[in-house]
């Protein structure tokens, strides 16, 4: 069982298809699968639907796939950092399914966990609830949200091993563990591939069973809002 690959392009070989649904990890530009996004740009795969909390910024992250018009639809909670996104959306060139952040994370987890639907209070009484089944539990109203199963998951971790076990670092964890579970195929890029057996089995965030392919990437790790206090 060989899960390690030498590059993003190799790791994506044979799994990209026009029109596919991709689930991506990352929050803002933190913990995004930079190398895999670039490889999808290079591959030119079209009509993508991408489930990702954000849409990158102009010229970086998923913003690159918007610039190249490879994206048909985004499933996101917040796209406010990307002017090209806004332009394409307001011009009707891009579809957008707004999903509250917690609902999006839970939809990914549910999809990966074989749960096709769950009820949540989030969005009741708002446009998010329109057209969705409503149901009362203990006198309160909830709406039905569906699990999200993607054709492909692309995630970024800090360390990983050849068995596909992943460990994330600080808030770059975010959506990555959830996205990793919901793809029929999951490709992970890591900062460092470590020898199998060196990760503490009690402290693995994503067990290898979820990860089909893994490679070591180069990460710019761009910072969106550099805020500091006096030293």
């Amino acid at each position: 069982m060989q899960k390690t690959y030498n590059s993003a392009a190799e790791a994506l070989d044979g799994v990209l298809l026009d029109g596919m649904l991709i689930a991506a990890g990352g929050f803002g530009l933190c913990g995004i699968p930079e190398n895999l996004i670039e490889a999808i740009l290079d591959a030119g795969t079209k009509n993508l639907t991408i489930a990702s909390n954000n849409a990158g910024v102009d010229g970086f992250g998923l913003g690159m796939l918007l610039d190249s018009k490879q994206v048909k639809k985004m499933i996101s909670s917040y796209v406010g950092e990307n002017d090209e996104f806004m332009r394409q959306y307001l011009a009707g060139e891009l579809e957008l399914e707004f999903t509250p952040q917690g609902t999006l994370a839970e939809r990914m987890r549910a999809g990966g966990a074989g749960i096709p639907g769950f009820y949540t209070k989030t969005g009741v009484g708002t446009v998010i609830a329109e057209g969705k089944e409503h149901k009362d539990f203990n006198g309160e109203t909830y709406i039905l949200e569906e699990g999200l199963v993607a054709d492909l998951s692309i995630v970024k971790a800090w360390k990983g091993d050849a068995a596909g076990n992943l460990v994330y670092r600080k808030t770059s964890r975010n959506f990555n563990p959830n996205a990793a579970t919901c793809g029929k195929v999951c490709v992970a890029e890591v900062e460092k591939i470590v020898p199998t057996g060196t990760l503490d089995p009690d402290l693995i965030h994503t067990p290898g069973i979820f990860v089909h392919r893994i490679f070591e990437g180069n990460h710019e790790k761009r910072i969106e809002q550099r805020t500091v206090r006096e030293g």
């Binding site: 929050f27 803002g28 530009l29 933190c30 913990g31 909390n53 996101s76 909670s77 917040y78 796209v79 406010g80 950092e81 806004m86 959306y89 307001l90 957008l96 707004f98 509250p100 952040q101 917690g102 609902t103 999006l104 994370a105 839970e106 990914m108 987890r109 949540t120 209070k121 989030t122 969005g123 009741v124 009484g125 708002t126 446009v127 998010i128 800090w158 994330y168 670092r169 600080k170 808030t171 770059s172 964890r173 975010n174 959506f175 990555n176 563990p177 959830n178 965030h205 790790k221 761009r222 910072i223 969106e224 809002q225 550099r226 805020t227 500091v228 206090r229 006096e230 030293g231």
Partner: protein, 209 residues
């Protein structure tokens, strides 16, 4: 006169209780962390996956892997833990966060909140706001009493797409503090240099005694 941003944040700080887990929104709410009263130990949650948020880093401590929900670089504390987005919102939806303090475009007298979208104009998204107002124990809004055109933001009913219905418990504006009660908003505090006439003139929502 009225309160400035820091005074509003300071007033919000008085709502904090020892041992609380609190989520602070972007903007003025973020300033509340500067006004946590002495002897009150509050743990700040950041919905991108962190409990125990520390202050902004010094230049040499900036870490690209450590940001808050506003995408700002931050630091950790000795009690900090990190978790996934699904786990973060499990906490929020599950009612484990005692209080959220957030900004708003409009609040209605029944506690309806609009703070995420201006149709055809501003399309940024709700982020985690809908989850927060649905799941958190107590929701406090901090905002200016009026918008840039001088129009009130405390309405009989919201005109913008809602973030949640009947979710706001208290509103802190530059003019005072308002509690959402049966029948409308109850003035529970008035800012220095402000009087009830000014509040009445600048409020559309029903004010109850």
């Amino acid at each position: 006169m009225a309160w400035n941003r820091n005074q509003m944040a300071e007033r919000a700080g008085q709502e904090l209780r020892d041992g609380m887990y609190v989520n602070l929104g972007i903007g003025i709410p973020t300033l509340v962390s500067n006004y946590i009263p002495d002897g009150v130990d509050v743990t700040l949650q950041s919905e991108n996956g962190m409990l125990g948020m520390g202050p902004f880093p010094t230049e040499e401590n900036i870490d690209a892997d450590l940001i808050n929900a506003g995408k700002q670089t931050i630091t950790e504390l000795n009690r900090t833990s990190y978790f996934s987005s699904a786990d973060s919102f499990a906490m929020i939806r599950g009612g484990k966060i005692a209080m959220a303090i957030l900004g708003a475009m409009e609040v209605a007298e029944n506690g309806d909140l609009a703070n995420w979208m201006i149709p055809g104009k501003l399309v940024k998204g709700m982020g985690g706001a809908m989850d927060l107002v649905a799941g958190v124990g107590r929701v406090i809004v901090i905002m200016d009493h009026t918008n840039k055109k001088g129009e009130t933001k405390l309405l009989k009913s919201c005109t913008l797409p809602l973030t949640g219905t009947g979710v706001v418990d208290e509103i802190i504006t530059n003019l005072g503090v308002f509690e959402v009660v049966e029948g409308g908003l109850k003035v529970i505090e008035i800012a220095d240099g402000v009087d009830m006439d000014e509040i009445r003139a600048k409020t559309e929502a029903t004010l109850v005694e």
